[in-house]
C-alpha cells in the first residue's frame, strides 16, 4: 500500500511538467501553423490599418512634409467637404441602384434555369461568363457599346427612329449606364448562389404542398422564396459590401464624370491620396467610410438575425 502511494506521488510529479510541456507544445505547433498567414495579415492588413489611423491624424503628404499630428482637423475638414459628401452620396445611390437588380434579376434567372429546360450549359455560361472578365475588359466592351456615334446601342436605337443617347456623357444617364454595366458584369455570381440554393430545397416539401392543393405560383411564394431567405440574406450582405466598394468600372468608364456625378467615395479617397498627395486627409476619409461600412454590416446582421434566418 505504502509503495503504491509513493508511486502515485512520483507519477504526479512526473506528469505535471509533462502536461505543461504538452500544452505549450500545442501552442508552439498551433502558432507555427498559423504563423505564415498571421505574418502577412499583420504586415499588410493590421499594420496598414493602424498606420492609416495614425496618418488620419496628421497632415502627411507625399513628400512627408507637414507630417505632424493635427488632431481631428482632417476629420473636421472632411465633414465640411462638399466633394466628400457628393462622392459618398454617389456611392449610396449606386449601391441602391445596383443592389436591387443584382438580387432580383439573378433570382428570376435562377428560377427559370432551375425549371430544367434544355440548354443548361448555355444558360450558365451566358450569365456567368462576364463575371470572369477583368474590369478593364468589361469597360472596353461597354465603352464601345455606349459610344454615342458608333456604338451598337445607339445604332439600334436610331434604326428604330429614337434619338441617340449620350450614355456616359449625359449627367442624367451616366450612373444608370454604370449600373447596367455592373449588373451585366457581376450577375453570374449571385445567379450561381441562387441556383445552388434552389437545388438544395427538398422535394418532399413540394409534394406535400401539391397534395394540399397549392398551385405552382403558390408554391413559389410559400415555399421557394421563404426557403431561399438565408441565401437572399447572404447575397444582400455580400452585394451591399461589394457595391459600397465600387471603383474599377466607374473610374475606367466615366472617370467619375460627367462633372463628378458618378465619382464614388473610393475614387475620392484615391484622388486625394494619389493625385492630391494628401495622404493624411485621404486616410481620414477612408476611416469615415470604413465606419459607414461597419454600421451597414452591423445593421444587416441585426436584420438578418431578427428574422431568424441564420
Amino acid at each position: 500500500m505504502s509503495s503504491s502511494v509513493v508511486i502515485d506521488r512520483k507519477r504526479s510529479k512526473v506528469r505535471q511538467p509533462r502536461e505543461v510541456s504538452a500544452k505549450s507544445r500545442e501552442t508552439l505547433t498551433g502558432w507555427s501553423f498559423a504563423a505564415p498567414f498571421t505574418v502577412l495579415f499583420v504586415l499588410f492588413l493590421v499594420g496598414p490599418a493602424i498606420y492609416g489611423l495614425y496618418l488620419s491624424f496628421t497632415g502627411r503628404s507625399l513628400t512627408g512634409a507637414n507630417g505632424e499630428l493635427i488632431g481631428l482637423a482632417n476629420y473636421a475638414e472632411a465633414l465640411k467637404d462638399p466633394d466628400m459628401w457628393k462622392s459618398l452620396g454617389n456611392t449610396a445611390w449606386f449601391t441602391v441602384l445596383s443592389t436591387i437588380p443584382l438580387v432580383i434579376v439573378p433570382l428570376a434567372l435562377a428560377l427559370l434555369v432551375n425549371l430544367g429546360l434544355p440548354g443548361q450549359w448555355l444558360w450558365r455560361l451566358s450569365f456567368f461568363m462576364p463575371y470572369l472578365l477583368a474590369s478593364t475588359v468589361v469597360v472596353l466592351f461597354w465603352a464601345w457599346m455606349y459610344n454615342p456615334k458608333l456604338g451598337m446601342i445607339n445604332g439600334v436605337l436610331t434604326q428604330f427612329g429614337f434619338e441617340p443617347v449620350a450614355w456616359l456623357q449625359d449627367p442624367k444617364v451616366a450612373m444608370l449606364s454604370v449600373v447596367l454595366t455592373t449588373v451585366w458584369w457581376t450577375i453570374g455570381f449571385n445567379f450561381l448562389l441562387y441556383l445552388a440554393a434552389l437545388q438544395n430545397i427538398p422535394d418532399q416539401q413540394f409534394e406535400a404542398a401539391a397534395l394540399d392543393g397549392a398551385g405552382k405560383w403558390r408554391q413559389l411564394f410559400s415555399i421557394v422564396i421563404p426557403q431561399l431567405a438565408p441565401t437572399t440574406a447572404l447575397i444582400v450582405m455580400l452585394q451591399l459590401l461589394a457595391s459600397l466598394k465600387v471603383f474599377d468600372q466607374i473610374y475606367l468608364l466615366t472617370n467619375g464624370g460627367p462633372a463628378g456625378t458618378t465619382r464614388p467615395i473610393v475614387q475620392y479617397i484615391y484622388e486625394t491620396g494619389f493625385t492630391g498627395y494628401r495622404f493624411g486627409y485621404s486616410s481620414a476619409i477612408s476611416y469615415l467610410f470604413f465606419a459607414i461600412i461597419v454600421v451597414v454590416s452591423l445593421l444587416q446582421f441585426r436584420l438578418t438575425f431578427r428574422k431568424g434566418d441564420r
Binding site: 470572369l132 401539391a210 475606367l252
Partner: protein, 297 residues
C-alpha cells in the same frame, strides 16, 4: 411556371430532366424558354459585338451605321497588329506569374491557419481567430494609402513582390477552410496520432488529400480575383514592363485612340485565358461557389 422545382434535385448543378408523364413542352415551359433565350442573348451581345468589331478593318469598325457584314470582309489583321505591337504577351506573363504566386501563397497559408484553428488548441487561438473574422469586413480599398506608404518604405513599389504580397492572404478563405476541416471526422487523425504521426504528417497525408475539392475551389477563386484585380496593381506599378494585364489594358485604351478593331481584339485576347479556365474547370467553379459562397471581385 415553377413546374420543375418539383423534380428530384440532384446535389450537383447538372441538368435536370422533366418528370415522366409530364408534358415537357407545356405552354409555361415554352414561355419560360423564350424569356430565358432572350435574356441569354442580351448577356451574349457585348461579346458578339466585340468579336464582330475585332474582325473588321479599322475603316469598317469606324463606320457609323450598324453593319453585320463589313464591306472590306472579315480579317484577323487587328489581332496581328495587337500581338506584334503591344505589350500584351509581357503583361499576360506578369499576370500569370503574380496570380499563380498569390494563389499558391494564399492557399498554403490559409490551409495551415485554417487547420490550426480547427484542430490545434493553442493559447491565443480565440483572439487571433476573432481578429481574422473581424478583418473580413475591412474593404482593402480603404487601406491603399497606408499600404502604398508601407510599400515605399519596404522598397517594393514597382516590383513583383509589391504586387503579390499585399494580395497573398485572404481572411475569408481561412474561415471557409476551417469550417471544412471541422467536418472531417477527428477519428481519422486520432488513429494516426496514436501511431506517433506528427501534426505536420497528419495534415499533409490525411487532411490535405481529403480537402482537395475545397482547396481547388479556393484556389480558383483566388486566381480569378488576382487575375482580374485592378486597383492594387494599378497603384503599385508605374513601370509599363511590370504591369499586369488589367492595368496594361487601361493604358491601351488611350494609346490606341480611335482604333476600335484593335481595342476589341485586345479585350478579346485578354478575356480568353479565364474563359478557357472556366470551360475547363466549370464544374469545380460552380460547385465551389455553391458550397463556399465566396468569390473574387
Amino acid at each position: 411556371m415553377a413546374t420543375h422545382t418539383l423534380t428530384r434535385a440532384p446535389r450537383t448543378l447538372t441538368r435536370r430532366t422533366h418528370k415522366p408523364g409530364e408534358n415537357p413542352w407545356a405552354l409555361g415551359r415554352i414561355v419560360a424558354f423564350a424569356v430565358l433565350a432572350v435574356m441569354a442573348a442580351l448577356w451574349l451581345v457585348p461579346f458578339a459585338w466585340a468579336i464582330l468589331t475585332s474582325l473588321k478593318s479599322e475603316t469598317d469598325a469606324g463606320a457609323s451605321e450598324l453593319q453585320l457584314s463589313p464591306p472590306d470582309g472579315f480579317s484577323l489583321d487587328a489581332y496581328r497588329k495587337v500581338l506584334a505591337a503591344g505589350n500584351i504577351p509581357a503583361w499576360a506573363l506578369n499576370s500569370l506569374l503574380t496570380s499563380v504566386a498569390i494563389t499558391l501563397v494564399t492557399v498554403a497559408t490559409a490551409a495551415l491557419a485554417g487547420y490550426a484553428f480547427s484542430r490545434i488548441n493553442f493559447a491565443g487561438r480565440r483572439w487571433l481567430y476573432a481578429a481574422i473574422i473581424g478583418a473580413i469586413i475591412i474593404p482593402p480599398q480603404v487601406l491603399i494609402v497606408p499600404l502604398f506608404y508601407e510599400m515605399l518604405a519596404f522598397g517594393l513599389v514597382d516590383t513583383y513582390w509589391g504586387i503579390i504580397l499585399p494580395q497573398a492572404f485572404a481572411p475569408a478563405m481561412v474561415l471557409i477552410l476551417k469550417r471544412f476541416f471541422d467536418q472531417i471526422p477527428i477519428e481519422l487523425e486520432e488513429a494516426a496520432r496514436v501511431d506517433g504521426a506528427s501534426r505536420v504528417r497528419v495534415f499533409a497525408s490525411i487532411v490535405l488529400p481529403l480537402s482537395r475539392p475545397i482547396l481547388a475551389a479556393v484556389a480558383i477563386f483566388v486566381f480569378i480575383g488576382a487575375w482580374n484585380n485592378f486597383l492594387w496593381p494599378f497603384i503599385v506599378t508605374t513601370d509599363a514592363d511590370l504591369m499586369t494585364l488589367p492595368v496594361g489594358l487601361a493604358t491601351v485604351k488611350s494609346a490606341y485612340g480611335l482604333q476600335y478593331a484593335q481595342n476589341m481584339a485586345t479585350s478579346i485576347l485578354a478575356a480568353l485565358p479565364l474563359v478557357l479556365v472556366f470551360l475547363f474547370f466549370q464544374r469545380q467553379i460552380i460547385k465551389g461557389i455553391a458550397t463556399t459562397g465566396f468569390g473574387g471581385q
